[in-house]
Symmetry: C2
């Protein structure tokens, strides 16, 4: 059994290699702490098959195997990486617990209306209520973004040095890329820019993009 | 400074004392590990004031203070309690990390469509699209409940003995109480019944109910 961790990722990510799939925060975390990893690319059909279900009860990516440990949920995986190697959690335990609060806040308070807005874009675009609901969702998202911007204030990062809290929060905020909401809060746009300029982020981004590009090279050209 | 942890809770919970507010999992966790706590009851107006914002960036309950540590987000607080005292995490570190995966799954994979359904009930009940959207949300919830029921199978708890994973997952599933979805999956209805029969759950439930009842006794009767 390889000692390197093994990450499952999309064979061909539905986001087209934009780094919005949930392997991205795990890749980023591994790059920040300087751990190499192997990746196993899984097709959409394989995701829902029983072999993958045994690893991930909800048929999603990523999963993360390290020795006899098999984890799922990107938040839990990033926290596991952060607890094992230095670089993503403050050494002071009180500060480290604050980082965990922010990780949960990113995924359970900030992200849900953002994902809901995305899902509506896929599932409800042709429904007569689409525009009216997007406006409602935008207001819910703005409320949270305003609160987050106020909490961040003039600081570079949420809790002291760059941490797993920023890694997860910036991953969540990136889901707004290409919408007006992404640029409405200058504090947050600058924060995302600081995070995505990090060398570890850039290495992770290139790795997920390479996976996507290679999946397309596999497809025989029709002409 | 008191050494007991201090939990902020609603002065008068909008759920009418049904134990669906987010102080409930924290109370339950503290009861499971046998820690006493003080509670500070906060009105809806106080929640949005700057004194509380300094504790909780999103103006919500609960917050949790222990010495100079101030945490927010119920998932993070329950995890902190579980890491400090025995009773909610397996002693084996691999198994403990699996529990954390399930905690994130409960709050970021299972809960969002359930909360979305609730929010629609408040915010969109009078909109022409309400019924059609509820049907869409019900299908998204059913998908996740079916996967969860399959993953749980014949086991009593998600990961060995009762753990923080079950505490959070059962708290999430309880949000479906009173809907048809709550009884559709027998495996999950039995699972919730096992969790909510625990003495620690019952003590936590009574404590939050007492807070609600006392808030009503404070209101002068109109006649």
């Amino acid at each position: 059994m390889p000692s390197d961790p093994v990450l499952t990722v999309f064979r061909a990510s539905p986001d087209g290699g934009r780094g919005l799939a949930r392997d991205m925060p795990v890749r980023w975390a591994l790059e920040e702490v300087g751990r190499s990893y192997d990746e196993e690319r899984v097709s959409l059909a394989e995701l829902k098959a029983s072999a993958h279900r045994a690893r991930h009860p909800f048929g999603q990516i990523p999963t993360f195997r390290r020795g006899d440990l098999m984890l799922f949920e990107s938040g839990a995986i990033v926290l596991s990486i952060a607890r094992r190697d230095p670089g993503l959690l403050p050494t002071d335990e009180t500060a480290a617990e604050r980082v965990v609060s922010w990780m949960f806040a990113a995924l359970t308070t900030i992200e849900p209306p953002i994902v809901e807005r995305e899902q509506a874009g896929y599932l409800e675009r042709d429904r007569p209520w689409f525009a009216a609901r997007q406006a409602l969702l935008d207001e819910r998202i703005r409320l949270r973004l305003g609160e987050l911007a106020a909490a961040l204030g003039q600081r570079a990062w949420l809790e002291g040095e760059f941490s797993a809290a920023d890694l997860i929060m910036i991953t969540v905020l990136r889901r707004l890329e290409g919408t007006d909401l992404a640029s409405e809060y200058r504090t947050l746009a600058d924060y995302v820019a600081r995070g995505t300029a990090r060398p570890a982020y850039l290495r992770a981004f290139r790795a997920q993009k390479a996976a996507f590009d290679e999946s397309h090279e596999e497809v025989p050209h029709a002409h």
